[in-house]
């Protein structure tokens, strides 16, 4: 065990009287990488903070032993520990946008990291900083040096943070969800770069993540955490291939990238071409060939002007969705997918093109008529933590659309709220609670109930699970698939997560810079992508095997250098 760089022994952490981490032990060998994986509340970030001694003073107490190179860092006085910060122990935070001081330049903050090298001459330091910025793939280091954080993209900021962390050559880097705030293709580039830097500089990594696929792809060892206790640990290949505990098994089963066909069987049970399963008249009606297109968007254009520059957010975007099907809009931030949805929902007016809902065109109609058409079109927002009014009770939140459209009498509305709650699988006593007393998954179920209560034909799902844990995500997807089967709903699914899209969608449009670069059936796009951008997106799905990742990096070094330029 003497080769271990970091040893954590029986670590327990409590916030006041509440214990959040119980008796956790693991160790990281020199040059190795270990991933702590678990869902929110599993204690993984708390352990990371304890290793870095960044737990809030006076609020948290840690017991046990955390040794770095044999020295117990929990027992060190702050002054001695400070000399290890940065130099021995580096930290890459979760959200690069908030991890740099917004009112100081990158250079000024980089000087702090460079000071750890013991170099006193600022111009020598500046040279080292520019070198390392170049090393992490930033094409114009001088411009980055003089920039303020808000002038750089999320991916560039994360590169800057990684550069600052590796600059003093620490022996261990703690990375807390280093890519979960980034676009998928950027995520892959950053992880590849980190893997490469680690190999070149012989740095050990303690990776904190909720994403089992990323953990398995990037780490040698896995520690699976639940409620602050270790469920399972071992070489990632073993843990991943043959999970021994139920929790690790279910975690593995909930990763979309590993189970592309999870919901497919359920969904094919309801298909217009397969009317055998349709018992009631409603679905029978839907399955008739005349049902046709539920959403038809043709050549829609939308231009925004920003600071004198015109930005084409949607440049001739077309897509259509058949009744009872799921269509996915895929793209990264700035691809125009959000604008397309806003146009469809009537939150913005298109500059050109046609939008038809259930065969009725929305152009050339009065506001009231359009509003009536759109009643059949409901939206489930991305983040259930902000989309529900915290001061309202659940019953009022779900009833709001009914009040808005003046549907039924008071008792009828109450009845429909009860039905909607039941449909999304929530107990009836939730109705009298407020959002603060619900979990993330419960909140998103409330949001879905709110969309369903007016009995829409189409539901727009805007990244409906991106704020949720994988196991919660699986529950929500299960629910959405069941509702689609039972109610014959049509879904427009907006996402950046291709693995998820492969699980839930029938057809897909890939958007980039306001244009549809490729569209078609999900099976075709995933097996035979035509456009290089689609291929890049597909490549960004974690492969979930460490060996494969390394091979891929080796073959794609050239490509990586090109795409960062």
């Amino acid at each position: 065990m003497s080769a271990d760089l970091l040893t954590v022994e029986s670590l327990s952490i409590a916030y006041g009287p509440t214990a959040v981490v119980h008796d956790v032990s693991f160790s990281v060998a020199k040059g190795e990488s270990l991933a702590l994986i678990g869902e929110s509340g599993s204690g993984k970030s708390t352990i990371a903070k304890a290793v870095l001694r960044l737990l809030p003073h006076g609020e948290a107490t840690a017991a046990g032993r955390v040794a770095l190179n044999g020295r117990d860092i929990l027992a060190l006085p702050e002054k001695q520990f400070r000399s290890l910060r940065g130099r021995e122990l580096g930290f890459i935070p979760q959200d690069p946008a908030s991890a740099l001081n917004p009112v100081r330049t990158i250079g000024a903050q980089a000087q702090e990291a460079a000071a750890l090298l013991g170099e006193t001459d600022p111009s020598v330091r500046r040279g080292r900083i520019l070198d390392v910025l170049e090393q992490v793939g930033l094409p114009d280091p001088v411009r980055v040096y003089d920039s303020y954080p808000h002038q750089l993209s999320g991916g560039m900021l994360q590169r800057v943070l990684i550069a600052l962390t590796v600059l003093p050559r620490p022996s261990l880097i703690v990375a807390d969800e280093p890519t979960s705030a980034l676009d998928v293709t950027v995520q892959k580039l950053i992880l590849d770069m980190l893997t490469e830097l680690r190999r070149d500089l012989d740095i050990s990594l303690l990776l904190i993540t909720h994403d089992l696929a990323i953990a398995a792809e990037r780490a040698d060892q896995l520690v699976v955490l639940k409620d602050g206790t270790v469920q399972e640990s071992g070489p990632s290949r073993d843990v991943f291939a043959v999970p021994r505990t139920d929790y690790a098994r279910s975690l593995q089963a909930d990763v979309p990238a590993l189970h592309p066909d999870r919901y497919r069987d359920q969904r094919t049970a309801f298909r217009p071409v397969d009317p055998v399963h349709d018992g009631d008249s409603r679905t029978g009606d839907v399955s008739s060939p005349s049902a046709g297109l539920q959403i038809d968007v043709r050549e829609v254009t939308k231009r925004f002007s920003a600071g004198g520059k015109d930005v084409l957010a949607c440049d001739g975007v077309s897509f259509s969705v058949e009744r009872g099907r799921t269509h996915a809009l895929v793209g990264e931030s700035g691809s125009g997918k959000t604008t397309a949805v806003r146009l469809l929902l009537g939150l913005e007016q298109p500059d050109g093109g046609q939008i038809a809902v259930a065969g009725q065109s929305t152009s050339g109609r009065s506001r009231a008529e359009v509003r009536d058409i759109r009643r059949h079109l409901q939206l489930v927002y991305q983040n259930p933590f902000t989309s529900l009014d915290p001061t309202w009770r659940v019953s009022r939140i779900i009833r709001e659309p009914l009040d808005q459209f003046g549907v039924g009498t008071k008792p009828e509305r109450a009845q429909r709220v009860r039905e909607a709650l039941e449909a999304v699988g929530l107990p009836s006593d939730v109705a009298s609670r407020r959002p603060a007393h619900l979990s993330g998954g419960q909140r998103q179920r409330v949001a879905i109930a709110r969309a369903l209560v007016v009995r829409p034909d189409v539901v727009v799902l805007d990244e409906p699970t991106s704020a949720l844990d994988v196991s919660v995500q699986a529950g929500i997807l299960e629910l959405l698939s069941k509702l689609q089967r039972e109610l014959g709903l049509t879904y427009l699914f907006v996402s950046h997560d291709l693995a998820l899209v492969r699980q839930v969608a029938d057809t897909v449009s890939v958007l980039r810079k306001g244009q549809v670069v490729e569209d078609g059936a999900v099976e075709d796009i995933f097996s035979r992508p035509q456009h290089p951008y689609t291929r890049a997106l597909l490549d960004s799905i974690p492969l979930a095997t460490p060996a494969a990742a390394l091979d891929r990096i080796a073959t794609e070094d050239k490509l990586l250098a090109k795409s960062t330029a």
């Binding site: 006076g58 400070r82 979760q94 009112v103 702090e112 750890l116 808000h150 959000t338 806003r342």
Partner: protein, 320 residues
């Protein structure tokens, strides 16, 4: 970007001028609808012993025999050319009356502002970095400061420092030490809201991810405070300071009375009791000018202090 800033600065300056003019008109109208014809009442007061001819001359000067609108335009025209008229009580030019009193008040207000800022920063620093119990005590100081009336503080300070410790004498209110104590009196209640804002923003900033990351790089708490936290925490306080200046101008009336200083406060007091319309009009307008000017400076400074401010407008549009 500099073009953007110039446009922004010119717009703000233009708005400031409009505000001053509106304040002038508003004051004029308020005074003119007050019961009683203030000017003629004062002029006819036998105490003044003005001859009928002199009265006529003054009436003609202010246009008192004309409709209110004409009077307003006359007065506004003179205000714009810097002509403030004559005091009805003393026959001295208003500009001279105000000019004599202004330096004393400005010294008091500026000293008080400095003391208030120092106090607020000290309180905020203590609230952040003193150990637990002490920090809690320091955190309660602003509400205590806010609840003690200005005049009580003044009387207590005079009682202790002038009468018991003889640090200064009340007979020479303009001596530096006396000025200092008057400024402290004025500064204490004014420092409270500033300290509150600073405490809140320091709490906020020190919890930000970037502060945690900077700590992980081995920065000491003192360096973290000086290098990282002061500037972003000061940003909300800049607007606060501008508002405080208004309070300092108002609060100085009471403080000047307690400490027996001759300043704008005394002039205002006399003008109000004597219904001295030109003096009142001039002082209200002057306060408006100072207040608007300070706020203008704060507005113009914020994009220079915070690099994000400039982009905010265009960024919003891009986000859609």
């Amino acid at each position: 970007m500099t073009g953007d800033y110039r446009r922004f600065a010119l717009t703000r300056a233009g708005q400031a001028i409009v505000v001053v003019l509106l304040a002038y008109v508003f004051t004029f109208l308020i005074i003119s609808v007050l019961p009683g014809d203030a000017i003629t009442n004062t002029l006819r007061d036998p105490q003044h012993g003005l001859s009928e001819e002199e009265i006529q001359r003054i009436v003609a000067f202010y246009g008192l025999d004309q409709p209110v609108v004409v009077q307003l335009l006359l007065s506004l025209g003179r205000f714009l050319t810097g002509e403030l008229g004559f005091s009805l009580q003393s026959n001295l030019p208003v500009s001279q009356l105000v000019g004599d009193a202004l330096p004393s008040t400005l010294t008091l207000a500026t000293t008080a502002l400095l003391i208030a800022i120092i106090l607020a920063v000290a309180i905020a620093y203590g609230a952040q970095y003193l150990p637990g119990k002490w920090a809690a005590i320091v955190r309660s100081i602003p509400s205590f400061f806010l609840s003690v009336p200005n005049f009580v503080i003044g009387l207590v300070l005079i009682e202790f420092f002038a009468f018991r410790l003889h640090s200064f004498t009340t007979t020479d209110p303009n001596s530096p030490v006396a000025t200092l104590f008057a400024a402290i009196t004025l500064a204490i209640p004014v420092s409270a809201p500033l300290a509150e804002v600073l405490i809140a923003s320091l709490d906020h900033e020190s919890r930000q991810e970037y502060a945690v990351v900077a700590r992980s790089r081995g920065l000491t708490e003192a360096r973290l405070f000086a290098k990282h936290l002061v500037k972003p925490s000061a940003l909300p306080s800049v607007a606060m300071v501008a508002l405080i200046v208004g309070e300092l101008l108002g609060g100085s009336v009471i403080t000047e009375t307690i400490f027996g200083r001759d300043g704008i406060g005394t002039v205002v007091q006399k003008a109000v009791t004597g219904e001295d319309q030109p003096v009142l009009q001039a002082i209200v307008s002057l306060s408006a000018v100072i207040f608007v000017a300070v706020n203008l400076v704060a507005d113009l400074a914020s994009p220079l202090l915070d690099p994000r401010v400039k982009l905010r407008e265009s960024k919003l549009k891009e986000k859609v």
